[in-house]
Every structure is written in C-alpha cells, then in structure tokens.
C-alpha cells in the first residue's frame, strides 16, 4: 500500500510520520504538498501534527481551505482512509469530516507528556490489531486538545462506538485525574460515522521505536496496513 502525508505550511510532524512509515515499517509513503490537487493514488492520507498556517484564527481553520483538502474530502467521501493526528485532527473537525471541535486545554498550558489511552473500539480500520480495553502509551503535545461536541451528538458518538480512544490512568480508569486537557468524556480520538476518517490528539508517529520510549504507535499504523491488505 502507499501512504500520503500532507504537508501544510507549518506542519511539523510530516517527516516524523514519513520516518515511522518508511524507515521503521518499511512502507511506501509520499509527501503531498498542500497546493497539490491530486493525491497520487495513495490508499491512506495522513494529516500530520504541527501548526498549519500558524494556527491563526483557530487551529485547523485555515488549512481547511488548502487546495489539497478538496481532494481529501472527496477521497473520504469515497470511503478512503484518512488519519488526522493532533493538528490533523483539528483540521478534520474544522473541515466537517469529523464531528466536534478542539479548544484550549482546560488548564491553559501546552501539555507535552506521555499518556495512557484505552482502546474503546477495536473494530475500526485504525485499531483492528488492538483488543477492546487494551492500553496504549503515546505522547501528547498540544495546547488546544480539549474535545467538545454537543450533548446530543456526544450521546450518538458513544452509542455508535465512534469514541475510539479515551485518556485513562495506568490502570485503565478514565476520570478527571487521567484527563490531561479536559476533553468531554476523556475523548482522545474519534471516528466518523462511516469509520473511514479518524482523528486523535496523541502522536502514534512519535512512539514507533524503543528509543523513542515505546512502540504502541505502530499498532495504529499496522492496523491500517492490515485493514487494507
């Protein structure tokens, strides 16, 4: 399979994603410049972390208007797999490809730390190699990661299993002490209704080797690979 990694002005983790996919996993990945209109036949599009367009106005608000986003939206509508990490998650919410929005962390601080996540739904293309309830250890690094959504939509997301990852403590319990940014229901990652678009605040591409402090991020990328195989 071939991966496509979108580069916006201000993207930071595009090359980390490329390193994880190509160097660590031995996959094939292309960098896609934001002005491009073609995705070049890739099977999964990654919107990486960073500060696209300086995060001016709101995180992800301006990236939504990049020429390549038209293609990404079309690709998603056709059932193509789209993964948004951190700023990519914010872009997907701003584009309307995912429900909800990401606002300033409850504690106002930028948070850079390793967190525990619980796999809530292991039947998605993004988590298929995980088990339900499995704990993943991934880093987060964001100032605007508090997931919010209307009450009615939140109930629908929970009911349909669209909450894929939740912040928990090392024993797998969710709660205010294990919720780094104040996200509603400790939500760390959500899928769209069709389960082909996934956004998460934690960074799987920063957890792909023991040297980086863990390899749990590979489970996510390998799940996608397995799903498409």
């Amino acid at each position: 399979m071939r991966w496509g990694i979108v580069q916006f002005p201000g993207s930071l983790d595009d090359r980390d994603a490329w390193y994880a996919l190509c160097r660590v996993m031995g996959a094939e990945a292309t960098l896609l410049w934001h002005r491009q209109r073609e995705l070049g036949g890739v099977q999964c599009v990654v919107l990486p972390g960073g500060f696209s367009y300086g995060d001016y106005l709101r995180c992800g608000a301006i990236a939504r208007f990049a020429p390549i986003m038209e293609s990404v939206t079309r690709f998603a509508a056709q059932g193509g797999l789209v993964l948004g990490i951190c700023n990519g998650f914010q872009i997907l919410c701003e584009s309307g490809l995912l429900p909800g929005a990401l606002v300033r962390n409850q504690g106002l601080s930028f948070i850079c730390e390793r967190v525990w996540l619980r796999v809530e739904n292991a039947q998605t293309p993004f988590t298929g190699l995980g088990r339900p309830g499995e704990l993943w250890r991934l880093p987060i690094k964001h100032g605007e990661g508090r997931y919010v959504v209307s009450g009615a939509e939140l109930a629908r997301l929970e009911q349909r299993g669209q909450i894929v990852l939740r912040y928990v403590d090392s024993a797998g319990r969710a709660g205010p002490d294990a919720n780094p940014n104040g996200s509603l229901n400790s939500i760390a990652g959500v899928c769209n209704e069709r389960f082909n678009v996934f956004g998460l605040m934690p960074h799987p591409e920063h957890a792909v080797e023991k040297l980086l402090g863990g390899e749990d991020g590979l489970k996510l990328f390998r799940s996608i690979e397995a799903h498409l195989a």
Binding site: A101, N105, V148
Partner: protein
Amino acid sequence: MLVKVFITPKEEILDPAGRAVAQALRSLGLEQVESVKVGKYLVLRLEVASPAQALQAAAKACEQLLANPLTEDYRYEVEPE
C-alpha cells in the same frame, strides 16, 4: 465600509482563559467581576456599495470561517468609514 466582528466562546463552553482573567480582576480588588469571556475582535475593511452588501459579506465570513458555530458566538457591526 468597516465590518467589526466580535467572537466569544459559547456560554456552555468552559472558557478557562476568561476564568483566569476574572480571578485576576478580583485579585485587583474588582470583586464585583462575576465572569469574563475572552474572545476575538476583527476589523474587516470592505470595498462595497452598500451596508447591505457589507452585512451579507460579514454573515458569510462569520458562518464559514471566522467563527466555529460549535464553540463560538459572534456578532458584527457595519460602519461607514
């Protein structure tokens, strides 16, 4: 024509920045401060023939880019230069 746009976090969205500023104002001795909302203020200069056209442009700008309807409220004023 000038369009002045005011954007604030929605009532139901926790505004930690507003809360921190409110606390600081109380520390300043302004104990009558009940709450603060921290938002954005934008001034758009438009080349249009009428205030109606400016209002139309302002509505589109707010709905489609300047504010996120899930998390923010907005209002705007049109003012001749």
